[in-house]
Symmetry: C2
Subunit: 844 residues, 2 copies
């Protein structure tokens, strides 16, 4: 996916002309528009550029001379194919097939070059004439509107004046809109009153706040002599109606350009005036400019407005575009899965909106919700889990999970929770959401301690963590607990950390946990209603990688422990599927649904929770939806004769069809990714011995990729980089699993969430000194800077992120490597270069 | 908007044939398909029906004879226009212009008639051939795919085989999909290898799980003699490739039909297996069938699967379709504003998804979020409110509002909330959401009392309520509090209740509230951090209409009251815009954004809260989004040097662009509604003296409707009906304001939320004895049955709801009026009939 800036400069209007179909007069209109700008009277003089990104056949050459004749501009054809057919067919026989990125980059480069050539106070107008209809295939077969989407230039749509043209024009507009394009104007040639499309279309679009214009019918130029042609066109152009209409179209395009510039300029200050930002100390925003303005996003990239900081290092800053692409390094707060602006998800959202809107879910049902529940239960592959309860976000899903677990335990143990304090058991550093009930399930921390109604309810275990330091994976006891857990232990691979049978610390963990519980329950008489944990990685707590064996052992001990005498009247239950000890709730909001490479991160612990909560990646990163999945034995605790015994929870938009349908689609896309080659490459990269041949991952019979070896723990981030980072002088340790990479910087003060360590690195990555480096938007948690990819991020882009990170770190540590030199750093580990190349070479 | 069932019967396949454009071979394909079914060998015999809903010009007549010749079926043209132009032009000169409803109903009726005529074990196939392209205008000008959307029949899309046809075919498909259509198959004629569209399209659609088929090129019939034509077509049809392709297309259509039937059949049991429903005691679902299956929704109507109960009264139950339209009487849990399946909202959702997906909002911004915040601040028109904080639903918005208010008060009064209990002041029966923090702000009730971590924190006032009983509005003191508030008071109009200057109870209220506060604060030493209220209507508490004067007085007293000594170091503040006493939080999640007819229901109280929360209608009823709007003085309480002092709250999808952009669009649509004629009619209906001339509401200068008189309290439900209901023997009282109508049935036991009263009425309305009556899906709260409209519901449909309600009530009370008789009931109030007619007559 292309990394190019949106081509918006103050002094250049770049507008792409799409046709509602072929033969609607796209070239004629583009020429008239170009000619108008060249001759336009007014305060500004316009330098015209006329680009055809892709051109096929000799007829197009004739068009070019036509354009030249009336506008004086030489058509810049970027990719020319001889055959007079659609580009995807013409490209077949061609010696060189440009890939989509190359086309997009070339368009961008041409526009940038034009900007550099605009004289003095002149303005530039670049007309990009597309080929065929809006969704005609480009050379690679990708639909044109998708191909050019990374540029998201404003559009003029030339309507179809023929019979059926109303339908094709509106459909073409809808296809553009659902890909996030802004249509500056629709124009339609009048057909001399035959079908009256132009009148209908003008009204239709104007009602939808899209400007629409009618142009008089174009002269018939068939069998003209050259002088006749010139004469007729001149006559047409000087027709008052044509001139007026073109003037108004141009006026509209110019007006929209300046509106856009003004909007971009004002966005930060408008935001400052009316927005209260999440998790933000507004006093720390020293300059309004610090508020990042995202104009759009596509794939892994935000289009971010330049600030004085981002602009600082650029030599060419005079002609910098207004935006630059920044890698979405936090996966938009851990949500992104299939790339921004994914057209399949847009269409899925629109379909569900069109079929249902929202339909209430109490006592009712609809297809997307049921299918999603079935898909989740299948994917989670946990024989305990049976019922899905939908809510809106991770925090509400946690609240529901807590309500479920607490009721189940209070009911079984006949506790009166209205008069007794019932807590949860969890881990230090856990976080389950921003609502007060979810907060109460975590120990006091910076997030909750100033919330006036917060009351931490429970006991939170300290625990050993996994980290890579100087190329070795270690399991390290928490500070000051060497006496309990012993010295840090080394592991050759991450697989070894998860190889529970081979590890010998389980009895020690078991003994420790039991002794703590004995103290709490037997000695202090405290009551607990649930074990609540984020499996493997505690995200908001600072990307803490918990020793999976400790978490697994905690579940085992809690399930076997006697938290209270079970009253005799309690119904029997099957301990293999019903909860024992306490209900076990896994908060997989962050870690689940492929974030760590698996559908469920519980599978990494080889254990089955009684309640599992999911959100974020559920919709692939599009819109809020969450689900709390529960076992039958939890469900049964609410089954009774009284309505009041039911789980009386339900937000209005529970199971909204758009969210469910989008989730079904994004889960399917991620499932497909799991089976694809790119993930195979990641797995191979993380295996002890790198595979050299591609054959290994292909089923020789079907020639389809083999399923990923579920026993390997792997990451989308390259093993080499992780190792190299872990050796870095500024780095304390690193973790990498699935799409998550977290780098813990050395920080003597270690002041936690409120620390400003790592912020320097974050800012440097966002504001790179030149476009040779990737700009990266990232987030920090105290002294931890982390990076997160979509499931669909390409490994070449991830490699760029890694390169940029290493280069910035080196610069910070005084190793000021220039652009060409960073590769040396890589050479420090020559034995891995082959693996690295094998890993990176496949995708672009 | 049409009230017709989705035309799905076991024995009939009704498929509509759309063309990607005109001239793509739609008639040829439809004929071939019809001919195939007629001749089809296999276990079933097919009875063919061929419908053209709209036909124009003589060419179509030629087509009809062609269809007849090859299929033996006479084309049933429902609306024929002479001119050979697009229907919207042809209809201009016609004597009779059918409205959209009439066309939709006629199609449905024809299909139903066909079902009745299908012989024995035969199956029926109805081919509905549309005119022009997917979005060609119908006679009224409405786009065809919108016009037929109430029927949502499966589609076969005939692709365009010509140059540019890939683009037009995919765009046409996208236009269908975003309107919620299911495309059973795309077919494309091969063009003898010229453009190869069919190959591209087949692959493209198959990758998107849409079946696609190629058909061999059609014979050239130009200038054929009749016998030559017959010969060529016969030859074509018996071409193996054509026969095979048609067989497979038909097979696919049949397969999809039976899939659809199976899905419908299994949906309830699949749901029962995997879904944990919101607010539902699962044990009370006696039969799986009781779970309502919504196949789709459009406008105000669900397409609901028939159950044995809904089918019971129907004479024709043998040939009933699988679905029936049910009025969405709870506005899908109070969310609906602009109708289900609104194509503008679908496209708005898709645009934002295409432009952004979700982009993270911490420290960043994007256009839809800022524009929405500005729009809200403008609409709320409250000089205190300055900052918008986004979350996902009403409950999270309430949590944020509580965090804001409590911090502000604890900070000003220097309270240590970690060791002291800080409560809220509110009203009995209030409800602010399902998360535990939001629950804590309400007194114990059925919703929260079994939530183990629930701890009600505050004091809740009992309060007088407004209701209409026997045609009179009264303000009634709470049970047993006549000694405090005096006897119930009568008012002629609802306007009088809200005419605070004219009312004399304010001093009494003031005195009472002050005395209660004195007892709590001065005597008991309790501490309070916020006044939290739903203005005017307490929804979940049972649609309690609070005396607005009491609420207004409560705000006034709280603002003047001294809840603690203000430490000297406290900064000065301007009491006109800064909070005093306690921060006042209005929960307008249910009541705001036009639900009660005003943008803000605070305006009904003529007071300005410091915090205002909004959700539900915010997105017009499409997807979750909420906002907590705060004053500068609240915002300032979080402004400080420490990050920890900030409001550390922020869900991952905070301010998701789809939600914000959809909200901007739906608020605009509702704003436009406010300015339109239909709402003028409602206001006029509720004014004391009915206006007889339309002129009154029209600005004579501009001829645009005048702005609604903001001082009138009005409802979308007719005054007559409300009065009539209030007289009904089974009814205790009624309330109506804005789009809300709530009928409180007499119930000796008055057992509250868990009561089963009103459930009988609810079920009877859902399961009407015949289609002459509207089926209504409604919800009950204890003995209250309520009805809620969208802002765009037409008054004729609301009148049908009222009629159905009155008729069912009469039936329950033994006045068993037959279909024709209910009108008599109306005549009980003859003086109002004119008003009623004037009110109802305008819209259909």
């Amino acid at each position: 996916m292309s990394r190019v800036p949106t081509p918006l400069w103050h002094k250049l209007i770049a507008v792409q002309i799409y046709g509602a179909n072929t033969g609607v007069g796209k070239t004629v209109f583009s020429t008239l528009l170009g000619a108008h700008f060249v001759k336009r009277r007014g305060p500004r003089t316009w330098d015209l550029q006329y680009i055809k990104p892709v051109s096929t056949g000799p007829a197009d050459e004739a068009d070019d001379s036509y354009v030249l004749k009336y506008t004086g501009a030489k058509v810049q054809t970027l990719f020319q194919f001889k055959a007079a057919v659609s580009p995807h067919l013409a490209a077949r026989g061609a010696a060189y097939l440009p890939n989509n990125d190359a086309i997009v980059k070339k368009v961008y480069t041409k526009l940038r070059d034009h900007v550099d050539l605009i004289l003095g106070e002149n303005m530039g107008i670049s007309i990009i004439e597309t080929a065929g209809g809006v969704l005609s295939p480009g050379p690679s077969g990708r639909l044109q509107a998708d191909l050019f989407r990374p540029l998201r230039m404003p559009v003029v749509l030339v309507g179809d004046h023929r019979l059926g043209g109303i339908a094709s024009t509106i459909s073409a507009a809808e296809s553009l809109i659902l890909r996030g394009y802004d249509i500056d104007a629709v124009i339609c040639f009048d057909d001399n009153g035959k079908y009256e499309n132009s009148e209908y279309l003008r009204k239709y679009f104007e009602e939808r706040d899209i400007a629409a214009f009618e142009l008089p019918w174009i002269p018939n130029l068939t069998d003209c002599t050259e002088s006749e042609e010139t004469e007729r066109m001149a006559a047409y152009y000087f027709k008052e109606s044509a001139e007026n209409a073109l003037f108004r179209v141009a006026e509209r395009i110019i007006e929209r350009h300046f509106e856009r510039l003004t909007n971009v300029d004002k966005m930060a200050s408008r935001t400052r005036d009316v927005i209260w930002h999440p998790f933000t100390q507004h006093k720390s925003i020293k300059k309004t400019e610090e508020i990042l303005v995202f104009d759009s996003a596509y794939g892994d990239y935000f289009q971010t407005k330049h600030t004085s900081s981002s602009r600082a290092g650029h030599r060419r800053s005079g002609n910098l575009p207004l935006f630059y692409p920044a890698f979405d390094g936090s996966a938009s707060w851990w949500t992104q899965g299939v790339g921004h602006g994914n057209p399949k998800l847009s269409l899925a959202a629109a379909y569900a909106a069109g079929r249902y809107g929202h339909v209430m879910f109490a006592g009712a049902t609809h297809e997307p919700a049921v299918t999603l529940a079935e898909r989740l239960l299948e994917g989670l592959n946990n024989p305990r889990l049976k019922k899905c309860f939908y809510t809106d976000d991770g925090s509400t899903a946690a609240e529901v999970g807590l309500k479920m677990a607490l009721r189940a335990s209070c009911k079984r143990y006949a506790w009166d929770s209205s008069s007794e304090d019932i807590g949860v058991i969890g881990l230090k550093g856990s976080y389950h959401g921003d609502t007060i009930g979810a907060m109460d399930a975590s120990e006091p921390c910076v997030y909750n301690k100033k919330v006036d109604w917060y009351r931490g309810r429970g006991y939170w275990f300290d625990f050993p963590t996994v980290k890579m330091r100087e190329g070795r994976w270690i399991v390290e006891p928490p500070a000051g607990m060497d006496n309990v857990f012993g010295a840090p232990k080394d592991f050759t691979t991450l697989d070894d950390v998860f190889n529970f049978e081979q590890r010998d610390t389980a009895p020690m963990y078991e003994e420790y946990i039991t002794s703590v519980l004995d103290n709490l329950v037997k000695e202090q008489g405290r009551k607990f209603g649930a074990l609540v944990m984020e499996p493997v990685i505690l995200g908001a707590g600072g990307m803490l990688f918990a020793d999976p064996l400790f978490q697994r052992t905690l579940v085992k001990v809690v399930r076997a422990y006697s938290f209270a005498k079970i009253p005799k009247k309690t119904m029997r239950f099957r301990p293999d599927i019903a909860w024992t000890g306490l209900p076990v709730l896994f908060d997989e909001v962050f870690t689940g649904l492929y974030r760590l490479g698996r559908f469920s991160s519980a599978s990494l612990l080889q254990t089955h929770p009684d309640i599992s909560i999911h959100a974020k990646l559920l919709t692939g990163g599009l819109l809020p939806l969450s689900v709390t999945v529960a076992s039958q034995s939890i469900f049964d605790a609410f089954f009774g004769d009284e309505k009041a015994d039911a789980l009386l929870h339900g937000h209005s938009y529970t199971a909204h069809p758009i969210g469910c349908h989008v989730a079904n689609n994004s889960l399917q896309m991620m499932d497909e990714r799991k089976a694809g080659y790119s993930w195979q490459g990641y797995v191979r990269n993380w295996k002890e011995k790198a595979a050299s041949s591609r054959g290994e991952t292909v089923d020789q019979l079907t020639m389809r990729p083999k399923a990923i070896n579920e026993s390997t723990i792997w990451s989308m981030w390259s093993k080499n980089t992780v190792i190299e980072l872990s050796h870095h002088t500024l780095v304390d340790h690193v973790i990498a699993i699935g799409s998550v990479l977290a780098v813990s910087l050395k920080d003597e003060a270690n002041s936690g969430y409120t620390s400003t360590a790592a912020i320097g690195l974050r800012d440097a990555l966002l504001n790179q000194p030149s476009f040779s480096y990737l700009n990266i938007h990232s987030r920090v948690l105290g002294n931890v800077i982390y990076f997160m990819a979509s499931m669909t991020s390409s490994s070449s882009h991830l490699a760029s992120v890694e390169d940029a990170l290493l280069q910035r770190l080196n610069a910070m540590s005084g190793v000021d490597l220039s652009v060409g030199d960073w590769g040396d750093a890589r050479k420090r580990l020559p034995q891995d270069v082959a693996v690295f190349s094998a890993h990176r070479g496949r995708e672009t």
